[in-house]
């Protein structure tokens, strides 16, 4: 099975939970956005608690948890926004 490298970004309180704003993740082909999140949720149980209020983005567009990933994708997990 081939592997793909994904760029993962964290913002706001998620960045503080993970302790990093950016990571490189390796996933098997066929992985979805939700699989990537689950991997981080296992490493950071506090992150998993936020799932219901997080919107995932894929290549700077709002995405769906079920979307399939492709090598080189940029995924971000966006906590509730508070601009303005």
């Amino acid at each position: 099975m081939r592997h793909m490298q994904i760029r993962v970004l964290f913002f706001g309180q998620l960045k503080e939970i993970v302790g990093a704003s950016e990571e490189r993740a390796e996933l098997s082909e066929g992985a979805r956005v939700e699989d990537l999140f689950e991997r981080y949720g296992r490493r950071f149980p506090k992150l998993a608690e936020f799932r219901g209020s997080i919107a995932p983005s894929l290549n700077q567009e709002y995405s769906d948890w079920r979307t399939l990933l492709t090598a080189g994708d940029e995924v971000a997990f966006l906590p509730p926004v508070s601009g303005g």
């Binding site: 970004l9 913002f11 706001g12 309180q13 209020s53 997080i54 919107a55 983005s57 700077q60 567009e61 709002y62 971000a76 966006l78 906590p79 509730p80 926004v81 508070s82 601009g83 303005g84």
Partner: protein, 162 residues
């Protein structure tokens, strides 16, 4: 990316900045001789939140995506309302009490479209642009409670035309 963002729609001003926002300079760029109305929303740092005294704020953004969504808001408004020019400028980094965090300005021939567009833009920005605010108080700091973001905030439902 930034440079491209700023020129995507020829006359729109879409910016994320780290220096104080110059409201007057921004506004003057929007007024054209065929316009008659300009509506401005200036959001600035309040000295309190839920009864606590705010010391200062820090804003951060997912910058390339925030630029994209701000451009989408301006494009959506241009498609749906009879507006002339629009500016959406958000500041990032540390902001003191009273400093402008967001400036939205819309010019048009007639006032209704400018009011509708300005209000739609700030509502869409608050619900659909990936920007986060951390509030610093004496003895602590918290990330502001916000809204789960999504594309529907940017381009639906249609701008209020009440």
């Amino acid at each position: 990316m930034t440079q491209q963002s700023q020129t995507a729609a020829a006359e729109d001003i879409v910016r994320l900045v780290r220096e104080p926002i110059d409201a007057r300079a921004t506004i003057e760029l929007l007024k054209a001789p065929e316009d008659g109305a300009l509506v401005v929303f200036d959001g600035f740092v309040r000295n309190n939140f839920k009864g606590k005294s705010t010391l200062y704020l820090e804003y951060e953004a997912y910058e390339p995506m925030a630029y994209g969504k701000m451009r989408e808001i301006s494009a959506y408004l241009r498609d749906h309302l009879a507006i002339d020019r629009i500016a959406i400028v958000h500041r990032l980094g540390r902001l003191e009490i009273g400093e402008t965090s967001v400036l939205i300005a819309v010019s048009s021939a007639h006032r209704a479209a400018a009011f509708d567009a300005c209000r739609y833009a700030i509502d869409a920005l608050k619900r659909g642009v990936p920007i986060w605010k951390k509030e610093y108080f004496v003895g602590g700091a918290v990330w502001a409670e916000g809204e789960k973001p999504g594309q529907q905030a940017i381009s639906a439902p249609g701008p209020s035309t009440c």
